[in-house]
C-alpha cells in the first residue's frame, strides 16, 4: 500500500458510510477513499481463509461495451479469444500495448452477443477508457459506457461464501466458476459472478450504487467479516494473483509474468500479438518468480533481489503470509535464475536474507466438493 498525493478530491463508494460506521481506517487508493482495514489485516485474512469475508470493490472500473462491433473490437484489444467467449461467461485477460506490455489486467463478462462488461483496475480506469475509445472511434458501431460511479460491487469470498449466499439467490446453486447471471436480490437488479481476487471460492455482486449498503448489511448479518484493501492484498498474493502496477505493468508482458494460459496466441491478430509471438518463439529472457524467505523479514516492493553480490531484480510484491506463516514475495529475474529451488537473496534495508524460488501460487485452496 503506497501513499499517494491528494491532488484531486477523492471519490467515495456507496458503502462509505458503512465503512466509517464500522470503524474502518480509510485511505486514499487510486482516487478513491477506501477501507484499509476494519480490525486487523491478519484477522481479516484468516476470516476469508477460514470462513468468509466481504470486500467493497466498487472502486474497480465497470465499463459497458456494446454494439454490433463490440465483440470484434474486444477481440482485437484483448489477449483472450473474445469471439469464442460464450454468453454468461467471463474471462481473465489483458489489454496490451503494441509492445505486448500490459495496460491493464481485466475480467471480461459477455452478457449477450453484442454486450460486454469489462472490469478493470481502479487506477487504470482512465487509461482503459482512453485506449478503448481510441480504437472504438474510427470503426463506430460500438458504445462505451463507464458505469463505475452508478453501481456498487461487493465481493463475498471464502469457503462459507457460496453456501451462505444461496439464501440470497437459489440461482447461485449451479453457477459455475467464471460464469455469471442476472437476478433480483433484496429488491434490486443484481449481477452475480463467480469470480474473485482472494484464492477462495466466492461470488461478486454488481448492483445499483444505492443498493450497495443493503447487500453489504445482509452479508454482514450472515457472518461475513468486512475486509479491507490490506487483507485483499495479502490474500491475492498468497493466491499468486497479480497486482497491476507492481507485478505486471505496461513494460512487462503476460509471458514474462508466466500468464501464458490467459493468452490466445493462435487467434487472429490482436494488439501486442507480434511481441508475444516473438517471445514465444525465442523464449523470454526474464520471468516473474515466487519466492519465500528462509529467515525472517518482509520482502517489500522495490527491495533488490540479489544473486550473491549482483543485483538481479527487484521485489514487485511481498508480504508476511499468515496462512502459510511464511514471508513471501514475487519479482522478475533472469530466466536462468527462475527455476524452482534456485537460491537468491533479498536486500532488506541492508540485510541480505536468503530466499528460495518456489512454485506459484503460494497457496491453493482444496478443490470444492
Amino acid at each position: 500500500m503506497r501513499a499517494e498525493a491528494h491532488s484531486q478530491p477523492l471519490l467515495r463508494t456507496s458503502l462509505y458510510d458503512a465503512h466509517v460506521a464500522l470503524g474502518a481506517r480509510m485511505v486514499p487508493f487510486s482516487g478513491w477513499e477506501m477501507p484499509l482495514q476494519y480490525t486487523s489485516i491478519l484477522a481479516e485474512v484468516r476470516a476469508v481463509r477460514g470462513h468468509c469475508g466481504i470486500f467493497d470493490v466498487s472502486h474497480m472500473g465497470r465499463i459497458h461495451i456494446t454494439g454490433p462491433k463490440a465483440a470484434s473490437l474486444l477481440h482485437k484489444l484483448l489477449a483472450a479469444d473474445v469471439l469464442a467467449l460464450q454468453e454468461g461467461r467471463s474471462r481473465y485477460s489483458f489489454l496490451l500495448n503494441e509492445g505486448g506490455g500490459i495496460i491493464d489486467d481485466t475480467i471480461l463478462y459477455r452478457e449477450g452477443r453484442d454486450s460486454f462488461i469489462l472490469v478493470c483496475n481502479a487506477a487504470n480506469r482512465p487509461a482503459v477508457l482512453e485506449w478503448i475509445g481510441r480504437w472504438a472511434a474510427p470503426q463506430g458501431a460500438v458504445a462505451v459506457q463507464d458505469r463505475t460511479v452508478g453501481t456498487a460491487m461487493v465481493a463475498f469470498q471464502g469457503p462459507r461464501a457460496l453456501p451462505l449466499a444461496l439464501s440470497l439467490s437459489p440461482l447461485l446453486d449451479g453457477l459455475r466458476p467464471f460464469t455469471f447471471t442476472r437476478t433480483q436480490i433484496l429488491g434490486s437488479e443484481c449481477m452475480m459472478a463467480r469470480t474473485g481476487y482472494t484464492g477462495e471460492d466466492g461470488v461478486e455482486f454488481i448492483l445499483p450504487a444505492e443498493a450497495g449498503p443493503l447487500i453489504w448489511r445482509a452479508l454482514q448479518e450472515m457472518g461475513a467479516a468486512p475486509c479491507g484493501l490490506g487483507a485483499r492484498d495479502v490474500l491475492r498474493l498468497e493466491a499468486g494473483l497479480m497486482l497491476h502496477g507492481s507485478d505486471i505493468t505496461p513494460s512487462t508482458t503476460p509471458l514474462e509474468a508466466g500468464l501464458d494460459r490467459f493468452v490466445s496466441l493462435d487467434k487472429e491478430d490482436f494488439i501486442g500479438a507480434q511481441t508475444l509471438r516473438d517471445q514465444k518463439r525465442s523464449g523470454v529472457s526474464r520471468r516473474l518468480v515466487g519466492f519465500r524467505l528462509l529467515a525472517r523479514g518482509i520482502p517489500r516492493h522495490g527491495y533488490p533481489i540479489l544473486n550473491g553480490t549482483r543485483v538481479v531484480g527487484e521485489v514487485t510484491s511481498g508480504a508476511y503470509s499468515p496462512t502459510l506463516d511464511m514471508d513471501i514475495g514475487m519479482g522478475y529475474v533472469a530466466l536462468t535464475l527462475s527455476a524452482v529451488g534456485t537460491r537468491l537473496q533479498v536486500d532488506i534495508r541492508g540485510r541480505k536474507v536468503e530466499a528460495e524460488v518456489v512454485p506459484l501460487p503460494f497457496y491453493a485452496r482444496r478443490p470444492a466438493r
Binding site: I41, G297, I298, A319
Partner: protein
C-alpha cells in the same frame, strides 16, 4: 485507552517506565501500535548494547510497513522481551504491559526531562498525533 501516569512518553510514541530497582522499561504506545497495525517482527538490540536517547533502538515491522523505534532514554540494554520477539502480537494486545520491548540500565536520568507526562502526551496526540514521526 488511557496512558499510564507513571510512564514518560516521547514524540516518537515510545514510553519508558522507571522501576524501583533502577531499570527503565521501554515500549511503544497504544497509539503507535494502532497506527502500525498487526506487528509481525521486532528487531531489537542485544543485551549490552549502548543506546543514545532519541537514537534508533530497533525496528518494528507490521504487515503494512516497517518503522524505526527510538530509545526514549540513553543507557545500556539489559534485557529484551523474548515473549514480544517470539509473539509480536502481544505488542498490539498489551503495548503498555506484556508487550514491552527492552529493559535499560539508564545512563543519565536527566534525560527524563526531555519526555512528556501522560497528560502532555495525550495533548500532543490530540494536537499533532494523527501523523506518526
Amino acid at each position: 485507552m488511557s496512558y499510564p501516569q507513571a510512564f514518560r512518553y516521547s514524540k516518537e510514541h515510545e514510553w519508558v517506565r522507571l522501576d524501583e530497582d533502577g531499570t527503565a522499561v521501554v515500549g511503544v504506545t497504544h497509539f503507535a501500535q494502532e497506527q502500525l497495525g498487526d506487528i509481525v517482527y521486532l528487531a531489537l538490540p542485544e543485551p549490552g548494547t549502548s543506546v543514545v536517547q532519541f537514537a534508533k533502538l530497533g525496528e518494528v515491522e507490521s504487515v503494512k510497513a516497517v518503522s524505526d523505534i527510538f530509545s526514549p532514554l540513553g543507557g545500556t540494554v539489559l534485557e529484551v522481551n523474548k515473549e514480544a520477539v517470539d509473539h509480536p502480537e502481544v505488542v498490539n494486545q498489551e503495548p503498555h504491559g506484556r508487550g514491552w520491548l527492552v529493559k535499560l540500565k539508564p545512563g543519565d536520568l536527566g534525560g527524563v526531562r526531555n519526555l512528556m507526562t501522560a497528560q502532555e502526551y495525550e495533548a500532543f496526540l490530540a494536537a499533532d498525533g494523527t501523523k506518526r514521526h
